[in-house]
């Protein structure tokens, strides 16, 4: 008969109770042993014969066996011999229980691998303490086994991670001696991995250095790596040190950077090509700008000369031949004079425009806008008197520029206000308000006004509105825009509820102290 007594939970958390096998043919003795060992809170398996004991040994992992020597059929020694002959129980500690202190028994017992003898009558405290030792031994073994399993599992994980890494990974000691490498190292370098262990990583990467930082991964660096066949290739490496009880180790991740280097070279080539093209284009633009400037100068200056002569001579011709005035030829001559005169004014305006665009900042000084408006009004005095125009000027600031430019600006604006007047007497209001880093000027009139769809158009070179305005060159506002923009500002037209035109422009405040 066999019974198993499952005692209460184990005393040590996380550890299962161990199994103890008690073997005695005398049921009372067996129960007595059970009673003595109960307080140890382990699994007690009871066997009343050697045969039962052997069967239990087959089915269970047993921490220790208490075996009665004197039993019918198969005695303790025979049982022990058979227990020992089985692989599973070859090293299971056996304590023999006997009533006789005989040397012969002792020798035989120890010979069979007994670890101890206990003499009947059993002293409970001695039995408990001896069995406790075996329980502890078994438990220590259990712990060790678990730790070994844990280590094996962690190492397997580690190797799996190492193998799964996309880069070749080499773990070295601080001096570069290789401890571990993944299979990508074989592929990348052509060395069998096993041949690399304990070699120095510098045989793969001559410029390898231990990372200077304590724990942080060092930034990527570009190095030259050498294959087994001594060919070399560019590699990108990242080193990250880690500390263990055995010292500091360094994980070096190595990636073939051949494609990257090729791409970088290509990018550099493309950049150089772009730069070259930009330079060429800039030179071409500079050249065409200069050509344009020369053309504009010629157009405005050299072309003006012959026209001036045509004007003078057509006038001279008309005066020398007063009889043709009433004839068809007289009208034709007048048309020649009108058109030549118009061309002359257009070229003069173009010349002004070019002068503005070429005005150098070095000649700029603070210019009093009050004086500039007065000078402009003085230049237009004939027109102002004739039209009865009034100019209402609020106090204006000084701005950086040249007097010529600012007089021209105000003169063109006042001129437009009078030229494009409504049937009402022209009224022009000029004021300025401080606005951040400069001044916003307003020139407001009660003239014909400008359709808002032409607000941008009218600032273009040679852009005019309407027909029959032979007096207009189409350059007035273009010159205003050129002046304002040359002085670092901007000009625009705003809508007004009442009829008329409101032109505003922003100019930076004078910077001189």
């Amino acid at each position: 008969m066999t019974t198993a007594t499952h005692t209460a939970t184990a005393t040590t958390p996380g550890l299962e109770p161990v199994k103890l096998l008690l073997v005695d043919d005398d049921r009372d003795s067996l129960l007595a042993l059970q009673a003595i060992l109960e307080p140890l809170h382990q699994d007690l398996l009871l066997a009343e014969s050697g045969k039962d004991a052997l069967r239990l040994c087959l089915d269970h992992e047993i921490a220790a066996i208490l075996l009665d020597v004197r039993m019918p059929d198969m005695d303790g020694f025979e049982t022990a011999e058979l227990i020992r002959s089985r692989k599973r129980s070859r090293y299971t500690p056996i304590l023999f229980l006997t009533a006789y202190r005989s040397d012969e028994q002792l020798f035989r017992g120890y010979d069979l691998g007994a670890v101890d003898f206990l003499f009947k009558p059993i002293v409970p405290e001695i039995l408990q303490s001896k069995v406790s030792v075996f329980v502890e031994l078994s438990r220590s073994e259990q712990i060790l086994r678990r730790q070994a399993e844990e280590i094996a599992r962690t190492e397997a994980q580690f190797r799996a991670v190492l193998e799964a890494a996309p880069d070749a990974m080499v773990i070295t000691s601080e001096d570069g001696s290789i401890e571990l490498a993944n299979s990508r190292v074989d592929m990348l370098f052509g060395h069998p991995r096993s041949a690399l262990i304990k070699r120095n990583i510098r045989s793969l990467i001559p410029d390898w250095e231990a990372s200077s930082q304590e724990s942080l991964a060092s930034p990527e660096s570009r190095v030259t790596a050498v294959r087994e066949d001594e060919s070399s290739f560019p590699a990108q490496i990242t080193r990250s040190p880690f500390a263990t009880k055995e010292g500091r180790f360094i994980t070096t991740a190595i990636r073939d950077a051949t494609d990257q280097v090729r791409a970088e070279v290509r990018v550099r080539q493309i950049n150089q090509e772009l730069e070259r093209r930009v330079t060429e284009r800039t030179a071409a633009l500079t050249y065409s700008n200069e050509a344009l400037r020369q053309f504009a100068w010629a157009a405005s200056h050299d072309l003006q000369e012959p026209i001036r002569t045509i004007l003078s001579y057509s006038q001279w011709f008309a005066e020398s031949n007063p009889q043709i005035q009433s004839q068809r030829e007289g009208q034709m001559l007048e048309i020649i004079q009108q058109q030549a005169s118009r061309l002359f004014r257009l070229l003069a305006a173009l010349q002004q425009y070019i002068q503005v665009a070429e005005s150098g900042e070095s000649h700029w000084t603070p210019v009093d806008c009050n004086a500039a408006v007065e000078a402009a009004a003085s230049n237009l005095s004939g027109m102002i008197q004739e039209s009865g125009a009034s100019i209402d000027r609020a106090p204006l600031p000084s701005v950086m520029g040249t007097e010529v430019m600012l007089v021209q600006l105000f003169q063109n604006l006042i001129n437009n206000s009078i030229k494009y007047r409504s049937p009402e007497t022209p009224r022009i209001q000029i004021c300025a308000e401080s606005n951040g880093a400069g001044w916003t000027f307003s020139v407001r009139d009660n003239g014909q006004g400008i359709d808002s769809k032409y607000f941008g158009y009218v600032f273009g070179v040679f852009k005019r509105l309407g027909v029959g305005q032979a007096a207009g060159t189409g350059m007035g506002l273009a010159i205003c825009k050129a002046v304002v923009e040359r002085l670092g500002g901007r000009i625009w037209i705003e809508s007004m509820p009442q009829p008329g035109t409101l032109i505003r422009f922003f100019l930076p405040a004078e910077v001189n102290p």
């Binding site: 200056h301 026209i307 001036r308 002569t309 004007l311 003078s312 001579y313 006038q315 005169s341 002359f344």
Partner: protein, 139 residues
């Protein structure tokens, strides 16, 4: 006026030479014009002035835009000839850039005459300058 006014004129545009003659005629200025078409020719003539004992001109009138040099070069030649120190000089031009204007004043041009497009303005401008700069010798 008991003798002609002598004018050294450097002007490449014959149309303007005619206009200048007309202006002088309308001012009733009896004049003798030494006319040169290029800056080079005018300079050569200016360098000879006084060397052969010939009397210097009463006025040097120079167009700024000339072939083979420019009006500034002609003025510079006049300024470096001591025989011409007392001779007034005037420059004619339809337009001058600021740096050109500065150069001309530094070379001692007494007057800058713009060439207006209007016939009467042109004649008046030239006539007034000649009248002012060339004091007719007392009778």
């Amino acid at each position: 006026m008991n003798r002609s006014v002598r004018i050294l004129l450097a002007e490449d545009n014959m149309a303007d030479v005619w206009l200048i003659r007309e202006a002088l005629k309308r001012q009733s200025v009896e004049c003798l014009i030494d006319h040169f078409l290029t800056a080079e020719d005018a300079i050569r003539a200016i360098e000879r002035c006084g060397a052969d004992g010939a009397a210097p001109p009463d006025l040097i009138l120079v167009d700024y835009n000339l072939p083979n040099g420019d009006g500034g070069d002609v003025l510079a030649a006049a300024a470096s000839n001591p025989h011409l120190a007392a001779v007034p000089r005037a420059i004619l031009s339809s337009h001058l850039q600021p740096h050109e204007r500065d150069r001309i004043s530094s070379l001692g041009a007494a007057r800058f005459i713009s060439k207006p497009a209007d016939l009467h303005e042109f004649l008046a401008a030239v006539g007034a300058t000649v009248n002012e700069l060339v004091r007719p010798p007392s009778t």
